[in-house]
């Protein structure tokens, strides 16, 4: 029994030694320190800690902003408490070394409630191609920016946790919560576009196709030469249309030449529409139902001409009874006769 007790005592002493060994090792972080200043820079506090305690500190001023000011309470801290308070904005690792040395390694900068500027590149996730003109929208703030030709963007007044929406045509939108001042965004292509149906809004204005209806009964229809009403002359009253020489020649539309006009009678192209040096045309006023002069943006069915299309449709004739007229003027004499189809 006394032998056993002896062994127990030895074990107890070994245990005590282990405890003292471990406390000796944690000594430098539990040393007491009372700040000499209330408010100064981190670097000044570090110097003050080294002067007022036995510890020596190892650190790299490249890892933190040494000249940023910190406020400390005028009370007694342990070295660990004071170091953690000084570096509260950072992720800090404190390593104890022999000779009462503490290595202060600062790993990451935590951005606090301060406003900061975030910037970076917007890239294609597959190719790494920089995306120019991608939209970066600061959610909930009604503001945003675009990436430049290098794919680079910069947006200021961001707080930690703010969300940016990054969008680019053909790519899926990304919603990103910001917590660092440097943020590279990769967008993945989203090429599958669902069917898009384009419909005309109910009250929309029909955009002009460049057509101009010649009203056969309008004031301009009174314009005639030697008592003859003529469709070609009426067309010349329209904007952008004039005749080559005084009263003569065909239609010249927007600086073109007469042969650049397509003249259709019931869909059949007409050549040499003028008679008697343009005094009269082949289009007879009495037989014409409607006429349309299209000066630009022709529908594709009228392919092949540069200046204009003059489309003339004839009357179907009177289906009820026989009707006719005869007129005579200086240029000549004409007779019009309409009757229902036989049979």
């Amino acid at each position: 029994m006394p032998k056993l007790r002896g062994i127990a005592t030895i074990l107890y002493i070994i245990g005590l030694l282990l405890i003292t060994a471990s406390t000796a090792h944690t000594q430098s972080l539990s040393l007491l320190y009372t700040p000499s200043y209330g408010d100064t820079t981190i670097i000044a506090f570090l110097g003050d800690i080294e002067r007022n305690t036995d510890v020596s500190l190892s650190y790299s001023t490249s890892q933190f902003d040494a000249y940023s000011r910190v406020e400390l309470a005028r009370k007694t801290f342990t070295t660990e408490e004071v170091l953690r308070t000084l570096f509260s904005k950072y992720k800090v690792i404190l390593t104890e070394r022999p000779n009462k040395k503490i290595i202060v390694s600062v790993n990451d900068y935590i951005i606090n409630t301060k406003y900061f500027t975030t910037n970076g590149y917007i890239l294609d996730s597959d190719s790494g191609e920089k995306l120019y003109g991608a939209a970066i929208y600061h959610m909930g703030k009604d503001r945003g920016t675009y990436s430049n030709t290098e794919g680079f963007y910069s947006i200021s007044n961001i707080q930690k946790g703010d969300v940016l929406r990054v969008s680019y045509i053909g790519y899926r939108d990304e919603f990103i919560s910001v917590d660092t001042s440097s943020l590279q965004v990769q967008l993945s292509a989203d090429l599958e576009v669902s069917t898009i149906i384009i419909t005309q809004a109910p009250n929309s204005i029909n955009p002009s196709t460049g057509g101009d209806v010649i009203d056969l009964n309008s004031a301009s229809a009174k314009v005639n030469i030697l008592g003859e009403k003529d469709l070609i002359h009426m067309a010349r009253q329209k904007a952008g249309v004039y005749s080559g020489s005084e009263g003569l020649g065909g239609l010249i539309v927007r600086g073109g030449s007469p042969d650049q006009n397509l003249m259709l009678l019931e869909g059949i192209p007409m050549y040499a529409t003028n008679h008697m040096a343009d005094i009269s045309s082949i289009f007879m006023e009495e037989a014409t139902r409607d006429a349309q002069l299209i000066k630009g943006g022709f529908p594709s069915r009228y392919s092949g001409r540069l200046s204009s299309v003059l489309e003339v449709n004839l009357k179907d004739g009177n289906q009820e009874r026989v009707k006719g007229s005869v007129s005579a003027g200086l240029p000549g004499f004409k007779a019009f006769f309409a009757r229902p189809n036989f049979g």
Binding site: Y59, S60, T61, S62, Q63, T95, R97, P98, K101, I103
Partner: protein, 220 residues
């Protein structure tokens, strides 16, 4: 460890250090700290009456005052005469450096002589004497084993480490050293401990290649 102190004949004591620092306690109770690779010889017949020594290498002298009996150190180029004071001498192939920490020292070279007082530092290069300000806080680190680095660039820090530990430390050419600053105090630490500390603080990666230490990565 090689440390020799032996009598070559009746009056000459020869001190030679090879791979460690040592203290030489002279018969007059003066103390000389000798750096690695330093030779110190007593060259007088009776040291108690004629305190004459010769030195090559690096040594820090703490000389006991004896007005009757000046203390002289013969250097490869010049000669030091003192009564009682503290100073550091460093000699190499063609350079001699004398740094006085306490009292007065007279340095003689050829027919010129210079009186140096505490804080003075001269550098003699092939007989030309240059008096410059001492701004290396770690000039005596070889002696007191304490290397203080205060917000210095990593390349400067590594140079100080190399001098302090008398070893070769290089960086791989692609290691970015820009804006990498360090503050630390190395107090009687070994080179291995110092490098371990750098790897904790700056995540440096290093390995020993022959007698050189090559730093391959650093993260600031």
């Amino acid at each position: 460890m090689v440390w020799q102190k032996y009598l070559t004949d009746s009056y000459t004591t020869h001190y030679l250090t090879i791979d460690t620092n040592q203290l030489a306690n002279l018969p007059d109770n003066s103390i000389v700290s000798l750096d690695r690779g330093t030779t110190l010889d007593i060259i007088s017949e009776n040291f108690a009456q004629n305190r004459a020594l010769s030195l090559t290498g690096r040594a820090y002298f703490e000389v006991v005052k004896d007005v009757q009996n000046p203390f002289t150190v013969m250097l490869p180029q010049g000669k030091i005469t003192v009564l009682g004071t503290q100073f550091n001498i460093s000699t190499s192939d063609n350079i001699e450096e004398i740094y006085v920490t306490e009292g007065h020292v007279r340095y003689e070279i050829e027919d010129r002589s210079f009186d140096l007082k505490a804080g003075d530092y001269i550098k003699v290069l092939d007989g030309d004497v240059i008096k410059v300000a001492m701004n290396d806080a770690n000039y005596l680190s070889w002696k007191n084993g304490k290397l203080v680095l205060k917000d210095v660039n990593i390349s400067t820090a590594v140079k100080s480490l190399a001098t302090h530990y008398q070893s070769k430390i290089t960086f791989l050419p692609d290691v970015a050293l820009k804006d990498c600053k360090i503050s630390t105090t190395l107090d009687h630490e070994t080179l291995t401990e110092a490098l371990e500390e750098l790897s904790i603080l700056l995540s440096i990666e290093y390995k020993a290649v022959g007698d050189k230490i090559v730093i391959s990565d650093i993260n600031c």
